[in-house]
């Protein structure tokens, strides 16, 4: 495992005076898939939002490539970080084509390069071609999630933050969706921070696991260490 | 000077009552009406007609004004049951504009643009209230009575249900609250008190016409509530004092050519409204943000 690409220490954040993150230390290494698990309300989504700059931290530092910074979403995106938010990360009123245009716009990609990127994503997730012109609202949950992930991959991020991509999807469907992402990750050495409730599927592709409770990381280790079901239940 | 101050104090008490009544809708019920002057107007016209044709007795005039406004408040309750938020604001705006035209056109009742003139000096149970001190006492009594009624009601189960409704309509419904009834009652209560204030206003001015019940007046009353702070007892009173006394105080501004006085006063008044909202969005008496 090589050095850290994204990390934080003593990170605290919350909404309107309510503390959600209470001193989080976390480090994501280059080329690593780190899976974050924990109860509802443990602070997993908030951690991802804070790392991406959607939420202003109350205390602590965030590091990118070893440099402390105050993240802003657009700057983080330019720095090669992709974020797939919780829920359906698509605009229901926009066509898939338009959602991809938006992503190209965010990544300042134009012309031939833009077309090549789109082709690459469609090659990875070929089903997208079938509903390219349809409005996102008319797509199934799995298709929407595929668009959301494909959109994030368009910028060829070196770090991908994914917030519960499995929600509302059948386990089989979810695995079909994760498999290409895993392939890409291995091919390109991308780092992934994955928040997931579907522990079985997530652990299968993770290098490392962190468990959160009440705004803190209470366990870090290998997935195998948590394979023992009893241990997992205890931690939850 | 005393007479002028008394006149202002009477107006302040009446508008305080009016603003407090709007607070029932806006602050407690989350019903953002910009048509409150309409119900103030219903009360004022009804009160003026009673004073002109029956007796200028304060009790009769204000109760009559309140009843008429309360019954007609159904016109506001109806859209309140159908839509919320911005849609309701626009609905009440529509009501205000239509009502303004009706006030102008219903000349036999309202006197049209010419208004109702010659409203006799007020009485109370046969005693004359022609003295400004006596009428001020009546206005203050009405204000205190209105505030006490609202305080009791808003602290009771009605008020708590209403605030639950304001904070989340679906949650209130889930808890088995009768949303339609609650909203209708809140509208009726607010508008009835506005009607009482209207009756007093008719007696105070001894003249009513449509220009006192236009959109500008509705917005002014709304601004009183918002500037003071919604959902509090003191807020509307603070807002009333500020917005009623500000134009009065501005007429004392020195150094402005007389032909520009009006425009400069208006500009300062508008600026004060905007700046207060930018720097004190919760209102002067409003609670700190984030802690409801």
């Amino acid at each position: 495992m090589t050095g850290e690409v994204l990390g934080c220490s003593g990170l605290a954040a919350g909404y309107g005076g309510r503390t959600v993150l209470d001193g989080v230390d976390l480090s994501l290494a280059a080329g690593e898939v780190l899976c974050l698990v924990g109860h509802n309300g443990a602070g997993k989504s908030t951690l991802l939002r804070t790392l991406f700059g959607l939420l202003r931290p109350g205390a602590g530092t965030i590091r990118l490539d070893g440099t402390a910074l105050r993240p802003a979403p657009s700057a983080m995106a330019r720095a090669g970080i992709g974020y797939v938010p919780e829920g359906r990360g698509v605009f229901p009123g926009l066509a898939v084509r338009e959602i991809f245009t938006l992503a190209l716009h965010a990544a300042s990609l134009r012309g031939g390069e833009a077309r090549a990127r789109v082709e690459a994503v469609i090659e990875l997730l070929p089903a997208i071609r079938g509903f390219w012109d349809r409005r996102a609202a008319t797509l199934s949950g799995g298709q929407q999630q595929m668009v959301a992930i494909g959109r994030a991959l368009l910028a060829e991020p070196r770090i991908l933050l994914m917030d519960e991509p499995s929600i509302g999807l059948a386990p089989k469907l979810f695995q079909d969706l994760l498999a290409p992402v895993r392939r890409l990750q291995q091919a390109r050495g991308m780092s992934i921070l994955l928040v997931e409730q579907n522990v079985r599927a997530a652990f299968a592709m993770s290098d490392r696991v962190a468990v959160m409770r009440s705004g803190r990381i209470i366990f870090e280790g290998l997935p195998s260490e948590l394979d023992d079901h009893a241990r997992l239940i205890e931690l939850f | 000077m005393t007479a002028y101050l008394l006149n202002l104090a009477q107006l302040a008490a009446i508008f305080g009552l009016l603003a407090a009544s709007l607070n029932v809708l806006v602050g407690y019920g989350g019903i953002f009406s910009v048509a409150h002057a309409v119900f103030f107007g219903f009360g004022a016209y009804a009160g003026a007609q009673i004073a002109l044709n029956v007796t200028p007795d304060v009790l009769l005039v204000s109760i009559g004004g309140g009843l008429v406004a309360g019954v007609l408040s159904l016109a506001l309750a109806l859209p309140a049951l159908r839509v919320r938020g911005e849609y309701f604001v626009v609905a009440s705006l529509g009501l205000q504009m239509v009502a303004t035209t009706i006030f102008i056109e219903a000349e036999p009742v309202t006197g049209g643009l010419g208004g109702l003139v010659g409203i006799p000096p007020p009485q109370l149970l046969g005693f004359s209230l022609a003295s400004p001190w006596a009428f001020l006492a009546v206005c203050l009594a009405a204000l205190l009575g209105g505030l006490a009624t609202m305080r009791v009601l808003m602290r009771g189960s009605f008020g708590r249900s209403l605030m639950a409704l304001r904070d989340s309509e679906s949650a209130a419904e889930a808890f088995g609250k009768n949303v339609a009834l609650l909203k209708t009652l809140a509208v009726a209560l607010g508008c009835t008190i506005a009607g009482v204030a209207g009756g007093l206003f008719a007696l105070q001015m001894a003249f009513v016409n449509v220009e006192s019940f236009t959109l500008d007046q509705s917005v002014l009353v709304l601004a009183m509530v918002i500037v003071g702070g919604t959902g509090t007892l003191a807020g509307p009173l603070v807002g009333t004092l500020l917005l009623l006394l500000l134009p009065a105080a501005l007429t004392f501004l020195p150094g402005i050519p007389p032909t520009e006085i009006g425009a400069v006063q208006q500009a300062i008044y508008g600026l004060a409204m905007a700046l207060l909202m930018i720097f004190r969005p919760a209102g002067l008496a409003g609670r700190a943000l984030g802690k409801r």
């Binding site: - | 000077m1 005393t2 007479a3 002028y4 006149n7 107006l11 035209t101 102008i104 056109e105 049209g112 643009l113 010419g114 208004g115 003139v117 010659g118 001015m205 001894a206 003249f207 016409n209 220009e211 006192s212 009065a248 007429t251 004392f252 020195p254 150094g255 050519p257 007389p258 032909t259 520009e260 006085i261 009006g262 425009a263 006063q265 208006q266």
Partner: protein, 374 residues
């Protein structure tokens, strides 16, 4: 508090029409004149005009040292509304202790008159022309002919011109309705008829539909009566929407926004006789000083409010000579005793109600200037 407040008063040695601010002197308590005009909003144009006339008279009275005490002018904004009128009047009466208030506008007058009457403050109207302003209160005087007089003057003229079918556009308020009633009685008497009645309200801005309806009534001539900015708007939109008939109106047309409007060319209107050719010294001085600063002819509103202030000077001077106090009752008694005064436009005579009778001309606009027709 009153002594410390800044008051407006005529500036000694200041340019004609100019005002300076000064502390009121405690030793010579001034006569306070109030103005209750719309100073903001759609009718503020009138407030500006009314004030200018009053200011010139104040300058003249001060320069003449006609009175033993200084004169101050205190302005209140009536907003053109009854409420503004009632509140402003109350302030003028109770705070400023004005003796004599210049007022305009029918609605404002009707709301303010009871307050002024109770406090026995004289109110003088030189701008409002609502027919029911006559006899509003013993303390309410008019130095302007009311609309009923203007209608009686124009009706026979229209018929004589062969314009028998008159479409009447009127403001649906006491002024407009009074005017409509006058027209409904005077026009048939003269041998004409009403081709259509079209009521409007102050807030209206769109008159293209009105134009279509007026055209549909096929009138020979269109008479309209509104106020302020709306007057110009009506003219422009009627003309733009294909109303080619002669347009006729009342004295309210004499404001810059109408006069500067190209579509208003040829507009016919009634107005109290402009006395600019009169040779009496009062008129000549008013005219000369006005033109020296404004490079333009004054309007009758300037004249009326000049006269209103001048009237106060003459009355108060008379009372001072007699050693009587100057208050509402004595001013009224003095007015009814003297009756005839040298005013701009020649000698004016007041009737028992306190109204000045003034001859009325029929004029037309040529190149933005009023030209006498009849």
């Amino acid at each position: 508090m009153i002594e410390r407040r800044m008051l407006l008063r005529a500036g000694l040695g200041a340019a004609a029409g100019g005002l300076a601010l000064a502390h009121a002197r405690a030793e010579a308590e001034p006569y306070v004149l109030g103005t209750l005009f719309p100073m903001a909003g759609p009718n503020a144009e009138y407030g500006t005009i009314f004030t200018e006339g009053a200011q010139l008279a104040l300058t003249h009275l001060t320069a003449d040292k006609l009175l033993s005490r200084p004169l101050v002018l205190k302005a209140e904004d009536s907003q053109g509304t009854p409420q503004g009128g009632a509140v402003g009047m109350s302030k003028l009466v109770n705070v400023d202790h004005a003796l004599y208030v210049l007022i305009g506008f029918t609605g404002v007058s009707k709301a303010a008159a009871p307050i002024g009457t109770r406090a026995k403050v004289v109110m003088v109207n030189g701008g409002g022309v609502g027919p029911d302003l006559a006899g509003l209160s013993p303390y309410y005087w008019n130095v302007i002919p009311l609309a009923s007089a203007e209608v009686s003057r124009i009706a026979p003229f229209l018929v004589a011109k062969g314009w028998k079918r008159v479409a009447l556009i009127y403001m649906d308020d006491p002024f407009g309705n009074g005017l409509r009633k006058s027209m409904q009685s005077d026009l048939p008497k003269a041998g004409g008829e009403i081709a259509g009645l079209f009521a409007i309200t102050p807030a209206e801005q769109q008159f293209s539909a009105l134009a279509a309806k007026v055209r549909d009534a096929r009138p020979d001539v269109v008479y309209f009566a509104s106020y302020g900015a709306q007057q110009a708007q009506i003219i422009k939109q009627l003309r733009d929407n294909g109303i080619d008939q002669q347009l006729v109106t009342y004295s309210g047309a004499l404001i810059p926004s109408v006069r500067s409007l190209p579509q208003a060319e040829g507009l016919i209107f009634t107005v109290q006789t402009a006395p600019w050719s009169a040779t009496d010294p009062v008129t000549k001085r008013f005219l000369a000083d006005w033109q020296a600063t404004h490079k333009d002819l004054p309007s009758v509103y300037h004249q009326n409010y000049y006269n209103a202030v001048r009237l106060f000077g003459l009355l108060a001077h008379g009372l001072e000579q007699q050693g009587k106090p100057v208050d509402g009752d004595s001013l009224r008694a003095e007015l009814l005793r003297v009756r005839r005064f040298a005013l701009v436009g020649g000698e004016g005579t007041f009737d028992d109600l306190g109204d000045l009778s003034v001859p009325i001309d029929i004029e037309t606009l040529k190149g933005g200037q009023p030209v006498k027709l009849d």
